[in-house]
C-alpha cells in the first residue's frame, strides 16, 4: 500500500532524512517511534505531499507522491502534528468544508458527516465553535476531518499528544477501530500506545531507520532482565548449586524481606549461554534436589529498553547501562 524508497530530505544545509526505505502492506497499523527531530514528521509530510523529497521515491496506493500528488492526496487522510483547525468555524461547518474540499459528493455528505461524528464521538459538540472545544475534542475533530472521505491510508502525526490518560485511551480505541480496515501510519512518544495499537513498529533516529518489527520481535532482540528465584530448601546448598548452574553470571542473595513465600530469594543475571533455557534449568535443579520452587520470574526486555538501545548514541547507551548496573548493586 505504501512503498518508500531511499527517501532523502534536506532543509537547507541540514539533512533531515538520510535515505529511509520501508513498505507497509494494506491493512497494517504502523507505529513510528523516535526522539524529537528524528525525521518522523518529515517522513509523514512527504507521504502526504506537503513537502517534496530531495531525492528518493514514495508511492502510496500506486501513485507517486511527486508525480501524481493529487491522486495520492485523494487517498490519504492526514492529521498533522499540531492538529491545526480553523478556529473561526463551527464543528459541523468545518467537517462539511472538509468533505467538500475532499470531493465527497453532495448527496453523500450527510452520511459521511454522521459517520465521522458517530465514530469520533462528536455528537455533543457538532453545533459548537471549534475554538470552544477542549483539547481532546479538538483532537477528535482533527481525526474526523482526516477520515471524512473514507481514505485508504491514514497518516496521524502524534494523535494523542497533550491528551489526558482517559482521552488517550479513547483515541487509541478509535485508532484501533479505524485500523481494522485501513492502512494507518501513526507517530507517538508513548510506547504503550504503539504496543497497544500497532501491528508493527519502525524506529527512526537521526534521519535513519534503526529498527523494524513487531513489538515482540524488537523486544526479543534485547536480552531479557534478571531472573528472580525463590526456593524453599537449605540456604547454602541452594546458593552453591545455583552458582554452579549459572557460572559466569551474577547471583545475589536478596535480603529476607524479598522472600515473600518463606524461602530464599535470589536475583540472577543470566550469562549469555544460559539465556534461552534459564528458567528450565532452575526448575530442573529444584526438582532433582526435591526443594520447593515458590517464585520464578523473568522480566522480558520492554519497548522502553528497545527505544533507548536504538535511539541513544553508543556512548550515551553505555553510560546509561553503567548507571543502571550501579543502581542494581546498590539496591541488592
Amino acid at each position: 500500500m505504501i512503498e518508500v524508497e531511499n527517501l532523502i530530505k534536506d532543509y537547507g544545509q541540514v539533512r533531515a532524512l538520510h535515505g529511509v526505505s520501508f513498505e507497509v502492506p494494506r491493512g497494517q497499523v504502523l507505529g513510528f517511534l523516535g526522539p524529537n527531530g528524528a525525521g518522523k514528521s518529515t517522513t509523514m509530510k512527504i507521504l502526504t505531499g506537503y513537502l517534496f523529497p530531495t531525492a528518493g521515491r514514495a508511492v502510496l496506493a500506486g501513485h507517486d507522491v511527486t508525480e501524481e500528488a493529487l491522486e495520492v492526496r485523494r487517498k490519504v487522510g492526514y492529521l498533522p502534528e499540531s492538529n491545526p483547525l480553523y478556529m473561526d468555524m463551527r464543528v459541523d461547518d468545518y467537517l462539511r468544508f472538509a468533505a467538500d474540499v475532499r470531493g465527497v459528493p453532495a448527496k453523500d455528505q450527510k452520511r459521511s458527516l454522521d459517520r465521522v461524528i458517530h465514530d469520533c464521538g462528536l455528537q455533543r459538540v457538532v453545533k459548537k465553535g471549534v475554538i470552544e472545544l477542549s483539547k481532546g475534542y479538538k483532537q477528535r475533530v482533527g481525526l474526523a476531518q482526516a477520515m471524512i472521505h473514507e481514505p485508504e491510508i491514514l497518516i496521524l502525526d502524534e494523535p494523542t499528544s497533550g491528551l489526558d490518560p482517559n482521552q488517550i485511551i479513547e483515541i487509541r480505541d478509535l485508532i484501533r477501530h479505524i485500523g481494522q480496515n485501513r492502512t494507518v501510519i501513526l507517530s507517538t512518544h508513548i510506547l504503550q500506545e504503539v504496543e497497544a495499537s500497532c501491528d508493527r513498529i519502525l524506529i527512526i533516529t537521526q534521519g535513519r531507520l534503526a529498527a523494524d518489527g513487531t513489538a515482540q520481535e524488537l523486544c526479543d532482540q534485547l536480552p531479557a532482565g534478571p531472573l528472580e528465584v525463590e526456593v524453599i530448601g537449605p540456604a547454602e546448598a541452594v546458593e552453591q548449586q545455583l552458582r554452579e548452574l549459572f557460572t559466569g553470571g551474577r547471583i545475589d542473595l536478596l535480603p529476607a524481606h524479598h522472600a515473600r513465600h518463606g524461602g530464599h530469594a535470589f536475583r540472577i543475571s543470566v550469562p549469555p549461554h544460559m539465556d534461552e533455557h534459564a528458567r528450565e534449568a532452575v526448575y530442573d535443579l529444584v526438582q532433582v534436589n526435591q526443594w520447593k520452587l515458590v517464585h520464578l520470574y523473568r522480566q522480558r526486555a520492554n519497548l522502553e529498553a528497545v527505544f533507548r538501545k536504538f535511539t541513544l548514541s553508543a556512548e550515551a547507551a553505555d553510560e546509561l547501562e553503567h548507571k543502571a548496573r550501579g543502581e542494581e548493586v546498590a539496591h541488592a
Binding site: 530530505k9 506537503y50 490519504v76 491545526p84 483547525l85 480553523y86 478556529m87 468544508f97 474540499v101 475532499r102
Partner: protein, 245 residues
C-alpha cells in the same frame, strides 16, 4: 472549478467571521461616507454631478491602497501561522485553485463593499441628473484597481507568517509605486524615463485613465496581466516552499 469555489466560499465566510474585515470594511464605508458628504455634497455644491463623481473617484486609489492589503494580509500568513496551510496543501486541490479561490473571495468581499458604496451616486442622483455610464465605469475601474492590489497583497501574504509584515510590504511597495508615479517628486528623483515605465506598471495610473472616460482595452489587459502575474508568483512561492521545506 468546484474546488476553487469550495475554497472561495470558506474564505469569504472567514471574511465575514473576522473582526479585521469588519473594521476595514466599516472604515472604508465610514470614511468614504464622511468624505463624500463633506467634500462632494457640501464643498463642491454648484458643480456638475459628473465633476462631483470624478472627485469621488480621485479618492479611491488611496482607499483601495489601504483596504486591499489589509484584507489580503492574513489570507496566507494566518494559514501558515496556525498550521492550517499544512492541511490546505494536502487536500486534493491544486495550488492554483487555492490561490484563485482566495483571490476570488477577496474580490467578492470588495465587490460587496463597492455595491454598498453605490449609495453615494444614488443619493447624488436625487440632487440632479447623473450620467450613470461613466459612474458605473468608474466603479468597475475601482474593482479592477482593487483586484490588482489584492493580487499583490496575497502575494505578500504568502511570503511571511506574520500578517503585519505582509501588510507593510504591500503598503510600502504599492504606496511608493503610486506616490512616485503620481507626484512631481518622483520625476525629480527618478527621472522622466523611469517614471514613464513605472507609470505603465502602476495600477493607480491605469485607474486614472479609466476614470477619465472610456474603459480602454489596454487598461483591461494591464489589470488581467498584473493580477495573473502576482497570482502566479503567489502559487510559485507555495510550490517552492514545498521543495525547500
Amino acid at each position: 472549478m468546484h474546488e476553487t469555489m469550495v475554497i472561495a466560499r470558506r474564505e469569504l465566510r472567514s471574511f465575514f467571521l473576522s473582526p479585521i474585515a469588519y473594521v476595514v470594511g466599516a472604515a472604508f464605508l465610514g470614511v468614504g461616507g464622511y468624505l463624500f458628504f463633506n467634500r462632494i455634497l457640501i464643498e463642491s455644491a454648484g458643480t456638475s454631478q459628473e465633476a462631483r463623481m470624478v472627485l469621488f473617484f480621485q479618492l479611491m486609489p488611496i482607499a483601495m491602497l489601504i483596504l486591499a492589503p489589509a484584507l489580503a494580509m492574513r489570507q496566507w500568513s494566518e494559514e501558515r501561522k496556525l498550521g492550517t496551510l499544512e492541511l490546505l496543501l494536502t487536500y486534493p486541490v491544486t495550488t492554483g485553485q487555492l490561490v484563485v479561490g482566495k483571490f476570488l473571495a477577496s474580490m467578492l468581499f470588495v465587490g460587496i463593499l463597492l455595491l454598498l458604496s453605490l449609495l453615494y451616486p444614488i443619493s447624488l442622483s436625487f440632487f440632479g441628473d447623473l450620467d450613470w455610464g461613466p459612474t458605473l465605469g468608474g466603479f468597475f475601474g475601482c474593482w479592477l484597481l482593487a483586484a490588482a492590489y489584492l493580487a499583490f497583497g496575497l502575494f505578500a501574504s504568502a511570503l511571511t507568517r506574520d500578517q503585519i509584515v505582509a501588510l507593510v510590504v504591500s503598503l510600502v511597495a504599492l504606496g511608493l509605486l503610486e506616490f512616485f508615479t503620481s507626484s512631481t517628486i518622483g520625476q525629480y528623483l527618478l527621472g522622466d524615463t523611469i517614471i514613464a515605465v513605472l507609470g505603465l506598471l502602476s495600477p493607480g495610473q491605469h485607474f486614472a485613465s479609466i476614470t477619465k472616460g472610456v474603459v480602454d482595452l489596454g487598461d483591461l489587459v494591464f489589470y488581467v496581466v498584473f493580477c495573473g502575474l502576482f497570482l502566479f508568483l503567489n502559487a510559485s512561492i507555495l510550490e517552492v516552499k514545498k521543495r525547500v521545506g
